[in-house]
């Protein structure tokens, strides 16, 4: 970009007001501060303005104004992201999609739903539930996070083990390109012609344009759901059970693991009645009754064979809720036993779970900090919670170093930098650990094919030398999390 304004000039500001209406362009410093960070609150920046368009046409106009005036923009859904993806750029504007929250069409004969990007994830399932359908991707922030944000992050959830991630459930979308044009990518019908640009836009973290309409695939609600909680002497034993379940060809809807530190915190904070043990597995199966029943017995046997001292089976919906209670409350429980914590999001091959968990225990000792593990064991997506005290002199720095070491451990085991929270701003400088300069160059070329001027969410996903000298601030829990409205997974 040839020119970067320090503040928004009058001309583009007027044009923005004209485009969306004066009250939907925020410039008051107090209002702007609401938008200074996403769920990763250690990174903050105040944008020049926040613009809240109400339609694809308005987004087009706003993006064209940005382009003409060389003002970078950052798309924002509900701001629950955990990688600083919606972190504003100081010399740019935020385009908030929160006013575009209509469910536009249900086409259940074809198992499709068309929504605007600001619709909260859970609203989709609520809209189709009366007809016996559900929207499968279920991030724990689902009451709040937007479909646009889910698309941008390719979000996952506990039940993605069986059903796949957002990318497997988005069949078409409308994209306002960074050049201000409207592209229709994908189709409600499979096998649409052309390159799979849809597949590239999903997970692109707002760097390839703004998604203004999304066609989702919904699924019939399964006939049967069965849930168990198994208590193991150690995470090794629980990890072994996970490996055996997967290798036996059983595909549960969810397999979640909690280690002793997590179980103790849960018991301390909410008396969930979990067994006193080294590790617990929560396993849920769903599908046709016949299939569930056949496989459930197998899972119980595998758990026992791997040393489970106790296997609790939920007999009804109330008991199922009880089993999930501790899992769902694990993060807020952690807030009760530790002043601060940082959530890492790394992935390892499932066969390496036990080894990596042992590695994390060793790092705990070396860094002198406690780590609690509560995570999506079925697909190897770790979420170690690093407990620290930000008031202690070295607490935050140590936590950060430990978090990075854990990530290194994941990569050494053949895993990935992030399983669902994205690269955003937080991990941009870690990308070289996973991708060679050539790998990044190809991604950069792709980005420029969509965004020749570099106005869409600059400074995210791909590292630049300017970015990677800086340091993130310390982690503070997201307000949602404190209020108990959502859990961090």
């Amino acid at each position: 970009m040839d020119r970067i304004p320090a503040r928004l000039d009058q001309a583009p500001l007027d044009a923005l007001r004209q485009a969306v209406g004066g009250r939907w362009v925020l410039t008051d410093p107090d209002q702007l501060r609401t938008y200074e960070c996403d769920g990763l609150t250690g990174w903050r920046a105040v944008p020049l303005a926040v613009v809240l368009p109400s339609s694809t046409e308005e987004v087009v106009q706003v993006v064209r104004i940005c382009r003409r005036s060389h003002v970078p923009f950052v798309a924002r859904g509900s701001g629950t992201g955990l990688s600083g993806g919606a972190l504003p750029v100081e010399d740019g504007i935020v385009i908030g999609l929160s006013r575009m929250r209509e469910i536009l069409r249900l086409d259940l004969d074809n198992e499709r739903v068309v929504v605007q990007p600001g619709v909260p994830n859970l609203e989709v399932s609520r809209a189709v539930a009366p007809y016996g359908y559900l929207y499968a991707p279920d991030p724990s922030s689902q009451r709040v996070c937007s479909i646009g944000g889910n698309v941008a992050e390719n979000s996952g959830g506990a039940h993605c083990l069986k059903y796949g991630f957002t990318t497997n459930h988005v069949v078409a979308l409308t994209l306002v390109t960074p050049e201000g044009e409207v592209a229709h990518l994908g189709s409600a019908v499979p096998d649409s012609p052309g390159y799979d640009l849809l597949g590239v836009v999903v997970g692109s973290e707002g760097t390839l344009g703004i998604v203004t309409e999304v066609t989702l695939r919904v699924l019939p609600v399964p006939q049967r759901v069965q849930t168990l909680l198994a208590a193991f002497p150690s995470t090794d034993a629980a990890g072994e059970a996970v490996a055996e379940i997967i290798a036996a060809g059983v595909l549960p809807a969810a397999i979640e693991m909690m280690d002793r530190a997590t179980i103790e915190a849960v018991e301390f904070a909410m008396h969930a009645g979990y067994p006193d043990c080294g590790a617990a597995l929560l396993v849920e199966l769903d599908g046709p009754q016949s299939e569930c029943e056949a496989l459930f017995g197998q899972v119980v046997e595998i758990c026992r064979g791997c040393g489970a001292s106790e296997v609790r089976v939920a007999e009804d919906e109330a008991e199922r809720a009880l089993l999930w209670k501790g899992r769902r409350g694990a993060f807020s429980a952690m807030g009760r036993v530790s002043p601060d914590y940082y959530v890492q999001d790394g992935v390892v091959p499932r066969s390496q779970l036990a080894r990596v968990l042992a590695g994390i225990r060793e790092l705990e000792g070396r860094h002198g900090l406690k780590v609690a593990n509560v995570f999506h064991a079925g697909d190897g997506n770790l979420h170690p919670l690093i407990l620290y005290d930000r008031r202690s002199p070295e607490g935050p720095d140590r936590a950060k170093r430990l978090a990075e070491d854990i990530l290194t451990l994941c990569l050494e085991a053949g895993g990935s930098l992030t399983g669902e929270h994205g690269v955003g701003r937080d991990k941009v400088c870690q990308m070289p650990k996973l991708f060679s300069p050539d790998d990044q160059m190809v991604m950069h070329r792709l980005r420029r094919a969509f965004d020749p001027e570099g106005t869409a969410n600059p400074g995210k996903v791909l590292p630049t030398p300017r970015l990677c000298g800086e340091h993130p601030g310390i982690y503070r829990p997201h307000p949602l999390e404190l209020s108990g409205a959502a859990q961090r997974l």
């Binding site: 004969d109 992050e153 390719n154 996952g156 993605c160 991630f165 497997n168 044009e181 409207v182 592209a183 229709h184 990518l185 189709s187 409600a188 019908v189 499979p190 096998d191 649409s192 012609p193 052309g194 390159y195 799979d196 640009l197 849809l198 597949g199 590239v200 999903v202 997970g203 019939p220 399964p222 490996a243 997967i246 290798a247 060809g249 016949s290 299939e291 029943e293 056949a294 091959p349 066969s351 999506h376 053949g414 895993g415 930098l417 992030t418 399983g419 929270h421 690269v423 996973l434 991708f435 060679s436 050539d438 790998d439 190809v442 070329r445 792709l446 094919a449 969509f450 996903v461 791909l462």
Partner: protein, 403 residues
């Protein structure tokens, strides 16, 4: 020997170069068969610097998919890149070179002691198809009803750009959101963006038992209604094929023996005239599914329609219509159609478009045939800038594929 052949021989050794022949088009072109990803990248860089047109070839089983390329000076064949690099049964994943055939991969992963796994893709002529070719054509078969298509099973890839750059995308774990998902972009790109040299794939366990339900002489509306009921029934279909014009529905259920028997019973009851098929008949059905609709002459089109318009599509495939044979995956509304000898593909495409569907060439699309479907103009422009960003000199299969 041309100077190109000599240079290729110098680069790869004599065994890896076949002199010019006519199999890639009217102008004879030599074939290079590099033995490593690095050597393949060097061949591409050489061709790119001389502004040659390169066609990538795997097993050659889908050579006719997509529009025929405008020109070809060099064929780069991936079949010497044929190693299985990793198979971790506990992770249900594998990493293989792109020239390994699907048949060979299935054999290798099935042989891991104590595990019985496979890649759940069954594209047409699949045994001889290479993994890179299957991904590049996004080819799938009946199993997509349950397991999806290559885009759903590809975890990561290594590829060479026309300028010889070797790069990776994704990884080998089943969950991963680091960086752009270029694997999706390569899937179905028909060798026009990059040459895939390595793929990481998700595997599935082979189910212990299977049951088949068969019905014959269904009419289009009954078939559509039966499938609508099946999609919501408490039964997981691994396949649900419609074979037309004979009005046949074939459904397969997999799982534990008791579970698949119970589900087969549910399916049987929902399909008019439905019955369970015995073992011998099942073998025959499998062979029939593999042959159809490829047996016989005439253009074959990939085809898809909304599932609530399947009945109307089937009506087009009635005896005497433009379609000789139709094989449709009923749960997703996608499959293949072989047209009658004299039928006009463009006219047929227009009728499918009226149903809200798409067609593409799988056989018989010649150099001059127009793209059968207009793309969204802005999407087309984006596709073109992606092509230019990765292959600025249009070295790879110029004229083929979507742009």
């Amino acid at each position: 020997m041309t100077s190109l052949e000599a240079d290729l021989e110098a680069l790869l050794g004599r065994d890896s170069v076949t002199p010019a022949d006519g199999r890639a088009g009217p102008t004879p072109a030599p074939t290079a068969r590099p033995r490593s990803a690095e050597a393949l990248a060097e061949v591409l860089a050489l061709a790119n610097s001389r502004r040659l047109a390169v066609l990538v070839r795997g097993g050659g089983t889908k050579w006719g998919w997509g529009r025929a390329p405008g020109r070809c000076d060099l064929v780069v064949e991936t079949t010497a890149l044929n190693r299985l690099l990793e198979h971790e049964p506990g992770d249900l994943t594998c990493v293989a070179e792109a020239g390994l055939t699907l048949g060979e991969l299935q054999r290798l992963v099935a042989s891991a002691p104590g595990h019985h796994q496979r890649l759940m893709l069954d594209p047409p002529q699949g045994g001889d198809a290479t993994l890179g070719g299957v991904v590049a054509t996004a080819a799938s078969g009946p199993l997509r009803a349950r397991y999806g298509t290559p885009r759903d099973l590809l975890l990561g890839a290594r590829f060479a750009l026309a300028d010889g750059t070797l790069a990776r995308t994704g990884g080998k774990v089943v969950k991963n959101v680091a960086g752009y998902d270029l694997g999706k972009l390569l899937t179905g790109s028909q060798g026009t963006l990059a040459v895939i040299v390595e793929v990481a794939l998700r595997l599935h366990p082979v189910p212990p038992a299977s049951c088949w339900v068969v019905a014959e002489r269904l009419d289009p509306q009954t078939a559509q209604a039966a499938l609508a009921a099946l999609r919501r029934a408490p039964a997981v279909l691994s396949m649900a094929e419609l074979l037309w014009p004979e009005g046949r529905l074939l459904a397969r259920l997999d799982g534990a023996p008791s579970a698949c028997e119970q589900q087969a019973e549910i399916v049987r009851a929902l399909v008019p005239g439905g019955r369970l098929a015995g073992e011998r008949e099942t073998d025959e059905l499998v062979r029939m599914i593999e042959r159809r609709p490829w047996d016989g002459e005439g253009p074959v089109l990939g085809i898809s329609v909304p599932v609530n318009r399947i009945g109307e599509l089937l009506a087009l495939a009635a005896v005497g219509g433009p379609v000789a044979h139709l094989s449709l995956r009923g749960t997703v509304g996608a499959g293949e159609a072989r047209l009658q000898a004299g039928a006009d593909p463009a006219q047929f495409a227009a009728r499918v478009a009226d149903l809200g569907g798409f067609v593409s060439w799988h056989r018989g699309g010649d150099r001059d045939s127009p793209p059968l479907q207009p793309l969204d103009p802005v999407a087309a422009r984006l596709a073109l800038s992606v092509k230019r960003a990765l292959d600025p000199h249009s070295t790879l299969a110029p004229g083929r594929g979507p742009v």
